[in-house]
């Protein structure tokens, strides 16, 4: 498996190309650099002596980034890695992205984990991929078949992030999805600018996009990889139902909930929090259905005694490894364990249950709004 690389060349591209060839490894196919200025093209052509597979395209007039990308994208016959010349690929990154892309026919694009810290740690214990709502970013691997089916970016968009979002939505309409390969890491030489809000033509075409984008950030699944990376340098930060000093929950990795859950709304709020969920005081629950739903969505369940643990495993059909007996010293190690080795099954269960509860809420809302007597 090989992928071509497409870059809209800037001032530093000639110094960056060598790094791409070094880190790209065996899966690296042709590198296509699309230039606007003849001086840039001349500098890049000097590199063709070392890299015969480097293709330098010189635009006849100055083109925007989207149009330049399209030129490169439409040229190849392999999957294409779209790269910004600010991005530094870690070793094995492209190989991992290609493996994730070809792990399923329904994956349209793969983005890497953008983190400098993550390049120094072993990421084998975190989920291999996480679904993302769109594929915007400075480093994205696109599936060739999809490019052939739906075309490249729409030149009607001037902004690159909007063009990428539009492509992602068109690919989604074909029944495909976009994922992040959590074990493929890239760094950036400059910090990424904040993404502006969706507007204009993009919203007119895909009005559901903002809602989909914000829903995709709910729950612990999209945050599992960043939590793991953050906990490498310090012990995992744990919050209870209300974080201390009103600090946002995004700053914590674990939510320890030791009170019974009384209704579905409360359960949904817990499921939507970005932290890994650990449940305590399971003996105080009055509603067994809520305990069942919460326990299967939690990364760990803490019980007061061995008997309670055995009864809970038998009653709720829980995995024994995820049920622990309470001890002061033990809690810290449980928190560390759930961040270091998150259970994918629970993360998935939690995301599906949250979706289900949200859809129930929406249905209730619609029923309440519908005029009576129909």
């Amino acid at each position: 498996m090989k992928a071509d690389v497409v870059v809209a060349a800037g001032d530093n591209t000639h110094s960056w190309i060598d790094a791409v060839y070094r880190s790209g490894g065996a899966p690296l196919g042709r590198v296509v650099a699309v230039c606007n200025a003849p001086e840039e093209a001349a500098l890049l052509r000097e590199l063709q002596g070392r890299h015969a597979e480097l293709v330098v395209l010189l635009n006849e007039t100055r083109l925007g980034r989207v149009a330049s990308w399209n030129r490169g994208l439409l040229l190849g016959e392999r999957d294409v890695l779209l790269l910004d010349d600010e991005v530094v690929l870690a070793e094995g990154c492209l190989e991992e992205m290609l493996e994730v892309l070809h792990g399923s026919d329904r994956i349209a694009s793969v983005a890497p984990l953008p983190s400098v810290a993550a390049s120094k740690v072993d990421l084998a214990s975190i989920p291999r991929l996480t679904e993302v709502p769109s594929m915007r970013g400075p480093c994205v691997l696109l599936r060739r078949v999809l490019l052939n089916m739906i075309g490249a970016f729409d030149p009607a968009f001037q902004r690159t992030d909007e063009a990428q979002d539009d492509w992602a939505m068109r690919a989604q309409r074909m029944g495909t999805r976009h994922v992040r390969a959590n074990r493929a890491v890239v760094g950036r030489r400059a910090s990424a600018p904040a993404a502006p809000a969706h507007a204009g033509l993009l919203l007119a075409r895909h009005p559901h996009l903002p809602e989909q984008a914000s829903a995709a950030l709910l729950g612990a699944e999209p945050h599992a990889a960043p939590h793991f990376v953050a906990s490498r340098s310090a012990p995992p930060r744990v919050c209870t139902a209300a974080p201390p000093d009103g600090e946002p929950r995004e700053h914590f990795q674990v939510l320890y909930h030791s009170a019974p859950i009384d209704d579905a709304g409360q359960l949904l709020a817990l499921l939507e929090s970005p932290c890994h969920l650990v449940l305590g005081q399971t003996g105080t629950y009055r509603k067994r259905a809520l305990l069942f739903a919460a326990a299967h969505s939690a990364q760990a369940v803490i019980t007061a005694s061995e008997q309670e643990r055995a009864a809970l495993i038998a009653d709720l059909a829980l995995q024994p490894a995820r049920v622990e007996v309470e001890s002061e010293a033990g809690l810290t190690s449980v928190f560390r364990k759930v961040v270091d080795h998150p259970c994918e099954e629970s993360l998935r269960h939690r995301a599906l249950l949250a979706n289900f509860l949200r859809s129930l809420g929406q249905a209730d809302h619609r029923l309440a709004e519908a005029p009576r007597g129909r």
């Binding site: 063709q48 002596g49 330098v56 010189l58 439409l74 040229l75 075309g151 729409d154 030149p155 009607a156």
Partner: protein, 95 residues
């Protein structure tokens, strides 16, 4: 293929030729890219057909009348259908 470090007249000539061939290859690829870009622009400009206009009132009226007859006179309605089917079958069986 990397550039050799040796430098003689023939080597220089070969290098210049390789450079020229590469430039020609890039120019040819650029032409292909431009053509495909045009195809992409055509594909992107395709607009989904507008949703069809609402049914004319006479269609609604006929549908309403038909469903009314079905509800009010279910037996004659079913009888007429059965008779029509029977007639069709007889016509098929005739040589």
């Amino acid at each position: 293929m990397g550039d050799a470090t040796t430098s003689c007249k023939e080597c220089e000539q070969l290098r210049a030729e390789i450079r020229k061939v590469r430039e020609e290859r890039d120019a040819a690829l650029l032409s292909v890219a431009r053509e495909r870009e045009r195809t992409n622009a055509v594909l992107m400009s395709q607009v989904a057909p507008a949703s069809p206009p609402p049914k004319p009132i006479r269609y609604w009226a006929v549908d309403l009348l038909n469903s009314g007859v079905k509800k009010a006179l279910p037996l004659p309605h079913a009888g007429v259908r059965a008779a029509a089917q029977l007639l069709r079958r007889f016509r098929k069986e005739e040589p």
